[in-house]
């Protein structure tokens, strides 16, 4: 009896093990790929889907590939849907490896109307995009028609439903004061090339940003007062201090222990402060009060662990 039981158990372990391994180690993008619909409304997928990695992505989307590389893109799947009576629609699914990078690449462009698809879906002139789990999904109609718009949204919902997990936002976003935060202006990133894209700071990487740093840039409005806030979380305090020193040397030599914010030649206020691993910098504030308040709030409440 015991021997029979052992044989049966062994048999089930034997046939189920490959599935478990496949599930554990399979490429998440491939799993998603296999489940994608071939036909939605009058649009049908072209026979050949294409995959790109962090090098071949340039062959596909030219210099724009740099954005996805900056967020640790693992792989991109591109599928084209065609309809004899409608515009082609391109589905691009980027597997970013982590949910914080999927969120990050999503924040690169936040123009559009909010749509309840995926996490924080946005729609603009035939282009739908959202992030979910470790994926950034873009669906783009080469021409916006009523039918194409309907298809894009339906396909978006279908893809989003295939991604079962939700992703967590980077923890650094939780350090931002909520009052006056402009969510659509928020950018999460790692490297200085992306910083310069959104807010030109310097031709050199004076803040020593890179894969090891988490950074967030955002705008604040409180009444008539406005400011830009940059937060960078470094691996250790030594690095945050060093970056702050470089920022002071190259950009804000007037800042000192008694004056954390100073008025620059454009009549706007800038300043910087370090607390532990966190560097906070304010740029182009039209109010000294807001600049000081943001620095104070950040460094007072921040829990960097």
């Amino acid at each position: 009896m015991k021997a029979t039981f052992f044989v049966i158990i062994s048999f089930f372990i034997g046939i189920s093990m490959p599935c478990i391994i496949q599930k554990s180690y399979a490429d998440p993008l491939k799993i998603l790929h296999e489940a994608l619909p071939d036909r939605v409304n009058a649009w049908t997928a072209e026979p050949e889907d294409r995959f790109f990695d962090d090098k071949t992505i340039f062959d596909y989307i030219n210099g724009a590939g740099e954005v996805y590389r900056a967020y640790n893109m693992q792989k991109c799947l591109s599928r084209r849907y065609i309809n004899p009576n409608g515009p082609p629609v391109v589905l691009d699914i980027f597997h970013m490896g982590s949910s914080k990078d999927a969120f990050g690449v999503f924040t690169h462009d936040q123009i559009g109307e909010t749509i309840q698809i995926g996490q924080e879906g946005l729609y603009q002139h035939g282009w739908l995009r959202f992030w979910k789990d470790t994926f950034f999904v873009s669906i783009y109609a080469e021409e916006e028609t009523v039918a194409a718009q309907r298809f894009v949204k339906k396909l978006g919902k279908a893809v989003a439903s295939l991604i079962t997990n939700r992703g967590a936002k980077p923890r650094i976003t939780g350090l931002l004061p909520s009052e006056g935060l402009q969510p659509r202006s928020l950018r999460y990133f790692h490297n200085h090339v992306v910083l310069n894209y959104h807010f030109y700071l310097s031709n050199e990487n004076i803040l020593n940003l890179g894969p090891h740093t988490d950074a967030v840039l955002t705008e604040y409005n409180r009444g008539e007062a406005s400011a830009i806030l940059l937060l960078v979380l470094y691996p250790d305090e030594k690095k945050s201090m060093k970056a702050n020193k470089a920022l002071l040397r190259h950009y804000l030599p007037e800042v000192n222990e008694t004056e954390e914010v100073v008025m620059l030649e454009n009549k706007k206020w800038s300043g910087t402060k370090v607390k532990g691993r966190l560097l906070a910098a304010i740029f182009d504030a039209n109010s000294q009060g807001l600049a000081e308040a943001l620095l104070r709030e950040i460094t007072k409440t921040s829990n960097q662990d």
Partner: protein
């Protein structure tokens, strides 16, 4: 690229009162004192024809031929297109026509054909001329080329601000992404490489249906293209790009109803002038000749 180490910050722009957003067109503050010399004055011909495109937006080859002939003869101060081309290239030369195959907005084939025809008219042997884009590094004609003709459509570009004539040579390097830093500011360095240096005889910026704004991973939407129906022709790539950039900027401002700077700023245009002495980007260094259709010329 080795000498390019000065730290330039936003503060430098603030100090000089120049807008960072417009930095690419206005001149970088610290680059203005470059020791390198740019040409005194660069001639740029902008030609437009209302009928350059058919109703579907496809270029009309015969009209493109006329436009290019008129532009090149004006540029070279001679009435005959063949003579003009002979001023640009010798009959014994080996010529690469650097095109652009970007899926959404490639160099129009009829324009490539028109250029080929004029080169053959000027006495170039058929086997000594080739059109290529992504294969230029392996193309036997390009490897032996003594002269280059540079042609591409202008468009906004996700990473460099603008897809320009200067940027069109990025396929001459094995690792294009190495030039992506700081909005591709150092693209001018590519023009110093042996495969390219001093070989460019003519630059043609295609402004038939430019892209003035982009969106999405592909940075493209037909919504942001318009029928400008023009060509910009010059021996100076920087002057041609600067002229194109001014038109794109004007279109953006008109379309969006407010100042809408090209983003990111096309720093590589100014840097190509100030650091790499590839041409003129300042208005007083450009002799702009406008020919043809004047409506909504934007410059």
């Amino acid at each position: 690229m080795g000498r390019y180490k000065t730290v330039i910050t936003r503060r430098d722009f603030i100090r000089t009162g120049s807008s960072v957003a417009l930095g690419g067109l206005m001149g970088l503050p610290l680059l203005a004192h470059s020791a390198l010399k740019t040409p005194a004055k660069s001639r740029v011909v902008l030609i437009r024809d209302q009928n350059a495109l058919d109703k579907d937006g496809s270029p009309r080859p015969a009209i493109l031929q006329d436009m290019l002939d008129e532009a090149v003869t004006t540029l070279c101060d001679t009435p005959d297109p063949t003579i003009a081309w002979k001023q640009l290239v010798r009959s014994d030369e080996i010529i690469g026509i650097k095109s652009n195959v970007w899926y959404h907005l490639p160099t129009p084939k009829p324009l490539e054909t028109v250029i080929l025809r004029r080169l053959l008219d000027a006495g170039i042997s058929n086997e000594n001329v080739s059109v290529d884009d992504r294969g230029v590094r392996k193309n036997a004609v390009f490897q032996r080329a003594t002269a280059l003709i540079n042609i591409r459509p202008m468009r906004t570009h996700h990473w460099s601000g603008l897809g320009t004539l200067l940027k069109n040579y990025i396929m001459f390097v094995p690792s294009p992404w190495k030039y992506h830093d700081n909005a591709c500011e150092k693209l001018g360095a590519i023009w110093q490489l042996p495969l390219v240096r001093g070989k460019t005889r003519l630059n043609i910026l295609v402004m038939l249906t430019p892209l003035f704004h982009g969106m999405g991973p592909h940075h493209f939407s037909r919504r942001y293209m318009w029928r400008y129906s023009g060509l910009i022709v010059s021996t100076d790539p920087v002057a041609a790009d600067t002229t194109g950039a001014r038109i794109i900027q004007a279109k953006r401002n008109a379309f969006f109803g407010k100042e809408s700077p090209i983003s990111p700023p096309p720093l590589h245009i100014t840097a190509a002038s100030a650091h790499f002495a590839l041409g003129n980007c300042q208005p007083d260094g450009i002799e702009l000749i406008k020919l043809g259709w004047k409506k909504d010329v934007l410059i």
